[in-house]
Amino acid sequence: MTAATTLADEPIPPAPTGFLRRHVFSTDHKVIGRQFLFLGLTFLAVGGIMAMLIRWQLARPGAPVPLVGKLFFASAGGVISPPAYTALFTMHGTIMIFFAVTPIVIGGFGNFLLPLLIGARDMAFPRLNMASFWTLAVATGLLCASFFVPLGPPQAGWTAYATLSTALGTPGAGQTLWVIAIYLNGASSVMGAVNYITTVLRLRAPGMSWLRLPLTVWGLFLTSILNALFVPVLGAAMVLLLFDRLFGTQFFVAGTTPGAGGDPILYQHLFWLFGHPEVYILILPAWGIIGDLLSFFARKPAFGYRVTVGALIGVVVLSSVVYGHHMFTTGLSPLLGESFMVLTMIISVPTSLLVLNWLGTLWRGAIRFNTPMLFCLGMVFTFGVGGLTGLYLADVVADIYLHDTYFVVGHFHLIMAAALLLSLFAATYFWYPKMFGRMLNERLGKLHFWLTFVPLNLVFIGQLIIGAQGMQRRLYDPSVYEAWRPLAGLNRGISHAAYLLGAAQLLFVWNFFMSLWRGRPAPPNPWEVGTLEWSVPSPPPHHNFDTIPVVVRGPHEMANPAAKPLGRDWLSQTELVEEPPR
């Protein structure tokens, strides 16, 4: 621990004074975290509005869009045209995954929380941290620019399968800008990953051993490892695709004749070798957050902490060898098909251990139903449905029927949209007082929960039902198929639930901004928990900790009998009290 001790002894760096250095080009992880958070939340709204437009078209194919139709789709008289629809689902997926959820989870909460949770004054590389945000900002600018170029925004889907994504299938600068934006987005992620890994390895406070880390830190740390390993694969795919688009290479371009030209399937291998770990990249921090918060609000130590950590590591290892289940219909060799099926199914072992430990945490707790807890419990529900439906898609026999139907859409939205967003809301309600020094309104928060949770499940479980009946994704007008006409009623119902879900988010926006200046000032430790971030003022000072804390126990010491004499049911990670031997 000599290294950590010397780092702890380093002098406190002075806080910057200029406006630009403090709020714009800041190297403070808390400021950068908020920048990521605001960028992500803004694009969450943009991607959400796109989802509403997609749902409008599916509910009433070809009907003019009310209110905003004349503004967005002027040339088509307010109607969403097939190219506009194609661009909408392409950009909805791209924005939500790369420009909303990733910045919020990893850039936003990751940045803000990591140093505070491990007892560090900042990230290991503060300038790299700043560069990570501004690289993302440039990527975002390029992506937005693609709306304003000739031939319009990208239209090859968020997966951008070659050859559709090459100049052959989607000519125009829009798709090229998309490729560059994704590349830069990845570069930003890798900068963050390198920084997070180093920070956790080197800057943990004295006594903060691996098994005393909050699960949130475990989630972020493992996510960073996946990011560092697999985002470069996406980068490689983007570079090759860019060459194909601009310089006439044929890495992914092929014609009718087998064996001549490049290989479109190579793109799918590269994309999913990144793309499947990406699912875990996003959900791992959420799992960590849920693991911690369930313990905090059940007032009980996280059940089976070591098994949970082992399960998270197991998922990380397995995540790189399952991606082939996205490609069962490409004519994979039988050996590959069966191997990917079995490997995918093995992932259900660590994930079921994870869920069982969550249930174990709740059992015999003294559960408090504050807003963050409601969102956590909602997450457990949607993650259950989303996770179990993943088994349908791991089974090659079932997947050959379900692949590319709305069942897939429902499944991955239950994980990537529902479970993830619910965890993000849980995290926001929980750490908002730490970030801004004020509490979010609890009553509005609970209303927000119910108005989110119920329609969310109606939308995505509805999509599962529609997909099980066979309806494909990405159809401009499903009624072209006679078989999908009887699904019109269900499709419309899903859309109505989606509008309600969208509208309910206004409650959150209102609560978020009103609480910034009207919210109840946050008490020092509003949730009565023992992790390090609550041992400093809210919001924390520039250097976080006046003295680097010395950690003496794990993050979840709730209901510890040694706390009883102190008149509370929790012990902080740093306080020295007599504990009876275990």
């Binding site: 097939p82 190219p83 194609t86 239209q155 399968y161 050859t163 559709l164 299938g169 009718t256 004749t257 064996g259 001549a260 479109p264 009980k300 130590p301 996280a302 059940f303 089976g304 098994v307 219909t329 490409t330 004519g331 039988p334 098909g337 199914m345 259900s348 072992v349 251990l353 869920v355 430990n357 249930l359 059992w363 015999r364 003294a366 559960i367 419990l377 179990l388 439906t389 088994l391 791991a394 089974d395 026999v397 079932a398 050959i400 029927y401 692949h403 990405r474 159809l475 401009y476 007008d477 072209v480 198929y481 078989a483 699904l487 019109a488 269900l490 119902g493 209901a559 009998p561 049911d569």
Partner: protein, 259 residues
């Protein structure tokens, strides 16, 4: 359209009619999944709700049990439940799927003389289906080529090989419970067999550009006699339309055993 209008308000929740030899295996897998995952989910949800009700903080219950769940019996319990789920759902499914794939879906009728061989060419945004005609060779004037309509005999295997001209497409037959991608630069294959005559839809499942939505065709399954009569008519028509110089002849290739 009257039918469509009437159906608009309806909410259908059954799978499309299965008229294939092996589709019931898919339905069986879906059924098994739904029952087993349904039970697992219901039990887990029940435990969670019980905990939320019984162990909520209230007067008289302010203090939780202090356990880290690291005792051997805690671990034994979680690992046992995880193992039961894994064996009961995953292993069972994987074993069944392997059996089904090897005995049915991946057992291509390479050596079945009765199998109808079809070369499929996918392009933005149409399907063309080609059978070899009486001479048994593809790319000759007696080939029968149809656009967006696949006619097949009931009771004989239909063996498809697919190519794509421009982008990736995916031939999707919901009533036969399968789909297979058509990929530029390679050949993919699949087979199925109709067990009842009827007209069903053929779609594209892979986003293939703005016209993806319109890339729809029909599959007509005919009884053997009806199929032969149709084939005779179609052959004459195709022969009249055949033009060796036109690009369409290049859509054919020599059929080989295997891929």
């Amino acid at each position: 359209m009257a039918v469509a209008a009437r159906n608009d308000a309806a909410v259908r929740i059954v799978l499309p009619r299965d008229i294939s030899l092996d589709g019931h295996l898919v339905d069986r897998a879906l059924g098994y999944l739904t029952v087993t995952t349904g039970i697992a989910f219901a039990v887990a949800l029940g435990v969670m709700l019980a905990a939320l009700i019984l162990h909520r903080a209230r007067a008289g219950r302010t203090w939780a049990q202090h356990t880290h769940g690291n005792r051997p019996r805690d671990r034994a319990l979680t690992f046992a439940v995880a193992l039961i789920l894994f064996v009961g759902i995953d292993v069972t499914l994987a074993v069944r799927a392997k059996g089904d794939l090897e005995a049915h879906f991946w057992r291509y009728p390479d050596h079945d003389p009765t199998a109808l061989r079809v070369e499929v060419m996918a392009r933005q945004w149409a399907w063309s289906f080609r059978t070899a005609g009486p001479d048994g060779r593809f790319g000759t004037p007696d080939d029968v080529v149809t656009l967006n309509e696949l006619d097949v005999p009931v009771g004989r295997p239909v063996y498809l090989k697919l190519r794509a001209r421009d982008v990736v497409h995916s031939l999707y037959l919901p009533n036969f419970r399968f789909k297979i991608d058509a990929i530029p630069g390679s050949i993919t294959r699949a087979w199925f067999q109709a067990v009842a005559p009827g007209r069903t839809e053929v779609g594209c499942a892979q986003h293939c550009g703005v016209g993806h939505n319109r890339m729809r065709g029909e599959l007509v399954a005919r009884d053997e006699g009806d199929y032969r009569a149709w084939l005779a008519r179609a052959e004459t028509e195709s022969r009249l339309r055949f033009d060796a110089a036109a690009g369409s002849a290049a859509d054919a290739w020599d059929w080989e055993t295997g891929l």
